[in-house]
């Protein structure tokens, strides 16, 4: 009987330690996970339809420095009904290319399942992110002059140069983005 309790205690201790370690790991590696994704380990498109990753004040600088190039980021909200059309412009620009740059959507006002409800409106989306923090602060980290209008699109070219536009990007912008591939 004693050994049963000993074994039980050991098993539970192991479980507790495991849970605690997992929780601590999740906390510590929150940013690491996010950055790993921004570094180009974006999931396959089917997985992208099921997941949304956090995007905080540090995400943008990291994406520019370490993220995939070229890439496109479309910042949107749950009530931006003009955003899917802008995303379709991005998708049309890359859909016939052999090497398709990642097309990411960043949801600003909702997260989790509420954000994912919009995934089907962004055909060809590589990964969805969601703001995780005070929206004006994150917006300022992305662009201090961005007046909270969506769609806000940033095209990062192969050399890391950015073009930014409110609304759908023009054909000329898309051409420059993909030329510097």
């Amino acid at each position: 009987m004693t050994s049963v309790f000993k074994n039980t205690a050991v098993a539970i201790c192991t479980a507790v330690l495991g849970l605690s370690a997992s929780a601590a790991w999740a906390q510590v590696h929150h940013h690491a996970q996010q950055h790993a994704h921004l570094q180009g380990q974006a999931a396959a498109s089917t997985r992208a339809q099921r997941t949304v990753l956090p995007f905080d004040e540090t995400s943008w600088a990291h994406a520019l420095q370490h993220g995939p190039r070229p890439a496109a980021y479309l910042f949107t909200t749950s009530y931006c009904s003009t955003c899917p059309a802008a995303f379709a412009v991005l998708h049309d620009a890359v859909k016939n290319r052999a090497a398709k740059p990642p097309l990411n959507a960043v949801m600003m006002d909702v997260s989790g399942p509420q954000a994912l409800r919009h995934a089907r409106h962004f055909k060809g989306m590589t990964q969805m992110y969601a703001f995780d923090g005070f929206e004006p602060a994150i917006r300022q980290a992305v662009d201090p002059n961005w007046p909270n209008v969506t769609p806000y699109v940033v095209l990062v070219d192969g050399k890391g140069h950015t073009q930014r536009v409110i609304g759908p990007p023009s054909p000329d912008m898309l051409r420059r983005w993909l030329l510097a591939h």
């Binding site: 929150h30 802008a86 909702v110 005070f134 300022q140 909270n148 969506t150």
Partner: protein, 412 residues
């Protein structure tokens, strides 16, 4: 030894159970994850829904309506004139309604005659960009409220969102909202720019409603609607409008006028197919029978795009008086609100710099000829847009953060 081992095992078991339970702050996330529509890896925390409505009741008490941390609709009130002492928050029965309470989409409360009061909100539906306008009514000054009901007759799963509600001078309740029933069918060659503004009215404080009536075609899709009474007590409305297919300026109309009888009230000529999430404000300029208005827009100035929140006065028909146009003295101004009493005019807005947000006011005592800039407060982290509430000459700003709805008296 056996007893010790048992005690040890039970203690560890209790710790393990406690560790496995989600923390209080994770309850919403857990609830959401249980919904069948989608799953998520994003479980760090939920953004607080702070968008709050405010109004001063006929007895002079300030009321607010919003969502608590559990996404339940609550009301609370305080007397004005002394220290703010909020009553205990009262949770209202909204059944299983999800409630939009973010940015320009917020619960609202208005008071009318005969003890009437109504609370409105947008209930998002499962399909993105869709919603119903829901309402709770009271006939005892807000002591009790009805169960929620849908305000409009149209029940398609489409956009009915961004409602505004007000009683006119005759006690008629008006509800206006952004509506997409006039969109051509999907796949159709027809194009329809933006959405439409629809309205209805209730003669009995929200017990019964007239038919849904179109105010105008081609509104912007996602901005609040500004309302103000004219000197005769009739409601006037302003909203962001899509002119000529792609120019997002503002329209003005008398509520109750035939459909599409609108006046263009701003001329930024902002040609964009985008959602600014930033609707206009409107207040009566009593001295001239015209109006004060504030709005956000981007206009070309010396060939450069100049985004700004602007102020101007309109004539009685809603046409802008060009010489009155002013840019608010803050390049980071967002979501301005305006109210006026006699020659006193208050414009308030929030201005964020990183995690810091400042509440500012621009005050005039000569009907908007001259303004004085004041800082009313500061906050770190999450906060709502500032909301002005008025009863006669008394004006207050309600500004909610994660701790409380702050109240700032406007002193001219």
């Amino acid at each position: 030894m056996n007893i010790l081992n048992r005690w040890c095992a039970l203690s560890i078991l209790a710790v393990a159970i406690l560790c496995a339970l989600p923390p209080a702050g994770a309850q919403n996330t857990a609830k959401e994850a249980a919904k069948p529509a989608a799953s998520s890896q994003h479980a760090r925390h939920q953004r607080p829904q702070l968008a709050t409505g405010a109004a001063i009741a006929p007895d002079g008490r300030l009321w607010v309506v919003g969502l608590n941390a559990q996404a339940q609709l609550f009301v609370q009130s305080t007397s004005l004139g002394g220290a703010v002492q909020w009553s205990e928050a009262r949770i209202l029965n909204t059944g299983s309604d999800p409630i939009a309470a973010d940015g320009e989409s917020r619960p609202k409360i208005v008071f009318g005659p005969n003890g009437w009061a109504v609370i409105s909100y947008t209930m998002p539906l499962a399909k993105p960009y869709t919603g119903f306008i829901r309402m709770l009514r009271s006939s005892d000054g807000g002591q009790t409220f009805s169960a929620p009901f849908t305000v409009h007759q149209d029940r398609q799963e489409i956009t009915h969102r961004f409602e505004s509600v007000a009683f006119d001078g005759q006690g008629v309740l008006h509800t206006l909202w952004v509506d997409k029933r006039d969109q051509p069918p999907k796949g159709s060659a027809q194009k329809y720019a933006g959405a439409a503004i629809y309205r209805n009215e209730s003669q009995d404080g929200g017990q019964t409603f007239g038919s849904d009536t179109k105010v105008a075609d081609h509104s912007c899709e996602c901005c609040r609607i500004g309302l103000a009474r004219n000197p005769q007590g009739q409601l006037q409305a302003t909203w962001r409008h899509v002119f000529d297919g792609q120019t997002r300026d503002h329209a003005f109309a008398s509520v109750g006028a035939p459909a599409n009888r609108i006046t263009r009230s701003t001329h930024d000529d902002w040609q964009i197919n985008a959602c600014p999430h930033h609707g206009p404000g409107l207040a009566l300029n009593a001295g001239t029978s015209g109006y004060h208005t504030v709005w956000f827009g981007i206009r070309k100035v010396n060939g450069q795009d100049q985004p700004a929140v602007r102020y101007a006065r309109l004539n009685a028909q809603g046409e802008p008086l060009p010489e009155t146009l002013r840019v608010l003295p803050d390049a980071r101004a967002e979501h301005a609100d305006v109210m006026a009493d006699g020659q006193n005019v208050a414009v308030v807005w929030r201005s964020s710099e990183g995690a810091q947000t400042t509440l500012k006011a621009w005050l005039s005592t000569d009907s908007g000829q001259n303004f004085t800039l004041k800082t009313l407060g500061q906050a770190t982290g999450y906060n709502d847009h500032p909301r002005l509430a008025q009863s006669g000459a008394r004006m207050v700003v309600v500004w909610r953060n994660t701790q409380e709805p702050q109240v700032h008296d406007i002193r001219f």
